[in-house]
Assembly symmetry: C2
Homo-oligomer: 261 residues x 2
Amino acid sequence: MTAVEFTAFLDELATVSGDTILPFFRTSLSVENKGPGGGAFDPVTAADRAAEMAMRTLIRRNFPSHGIIGEEFGAERAQAEFVWLLDPIDGTKAFISGMTAWGTLIALTRQGTAVAGLMHQPFIGERFSGDGATAHYRGPGGARVLNARRCAKLSDAMLYTTSPRLMSGADRNAFSRIEEAVKLSRYGGDCYSYCMLAAGLIDLVIETNIKPHDIAALVPIINGAGGIVTTWEGGSAELGGRIIAAGDRGLHAAATQMLLR
Amino acid sequence: MTAVEFTAFLDELATVSGDTILPFFRTSLSVENKGPGGGAFDPVTAADRAAEMAMRTLIRRNFPSHGIIGEEFGAERAQAEFVWLLDPIDGTKAFISGMTAWGTLIALTRQGTAVAGLMHQPFIGERFSGDGATAHYRGPGGARVLNARRCAKLSDAMLYTTSPRLMSGADRNAFSRIEEAVKLSRYGGDCYSYCMLAAGLIDLVIETNIKPHDIAALVPIINGAGGIVTTWEGGSAELGGRIIAAGDRGLHAAATQMLLR
């Protein structure tokens, strides 16, 4: 399979997933909003499961030897050389609120390292992709190369996290030290924070309790854009846990030092 | 001017504003990103000013007797019977971060009461509008009537605020009481929170330090969708201040009581 064919396959996964999810988004604004029977219908779970199933089917058909780890249906062949990590709706709380800061995350890992990743927002119609060496954007604004921006000083940095309420007490205290040091701190990002960092629009993302499928797709995008993403301890981000991403290596070092103080 | 012509005029204002703003959004992803001279270029201020000027020109040409109050250029004929309130970019921090939770707010007030309002997100291409009696959506998902949802109990409610960091200490404590009582609390909404409430996707929005141009356009949308929006004290939301919006009147009463306790 050539690089072009492979890129086309990632895009096919994203398209199938997006087409599956969209009818479940903002169901109160849909023509039809019929749950099965009595009110227990959960659109985000239904969308998540249907999209993951559709992507699993495509992967099995094209790469029967590859492993798959998904948020909804667990692991199959997790010890394979190549393993796909799927999160059809990263940002489920944004999704159920009708907000657009959610996306589909698709990662391919080789022996534990993420070698390709894609974030797709089907409602807006934009995709962020990367292979660790380069990263690209396609959307309403056209197609562009993604480049993280330089910003070495905490006092100049724009910081995002999904919500400090997701952090334990000790982690929240560490995060608060960073918040007091940066120029701007904002909440509510989910996967978009990391993509905006790769696009050179923000400088720092700090989160905790991140699962591998929440971050693996974003690692090759951030690295491909010239940024850096690790655990707070400096380990491999693909394993999840407490994550820090920065557009600038100097900023990453300064923020990590302050977090672990 | 008929109702149809008037709706068309509101749409024309939104279109002109959106066309003016979009080239300044995510400038790091644009083909051209040339500031005038040395680095001091501020895309959000430039976009805000250009869009407000374009809307003011259209209003003056069509309604020379109307007043205009805008975020960037202040007030003209503020004592007129009809006054327009303009906020070209509500959610400037989202805008500069590349996030899409910002919008253009356009309100028409008659003797201080908002009689028509529109929120336009030109990047996504969606509009939320209302006249106090009805409210409508147009966007990628088609055109729909907006209806807020019933949710009488705080323990079932989904709450949004832009950021608790924007609140003073006492207000933040009051807000925390609500946060502990609701089902879900999320940050980062700006004008989108109120529109999602009108769309029946969330139940409660609580904010402080709201200016008239931040909220006036949203009042006829929320009311038109069957929701309610006031100050914490129950006063007219068009004056700004501490704002509470709810999709359900019972929830509004319960939350207001808890805020002022």
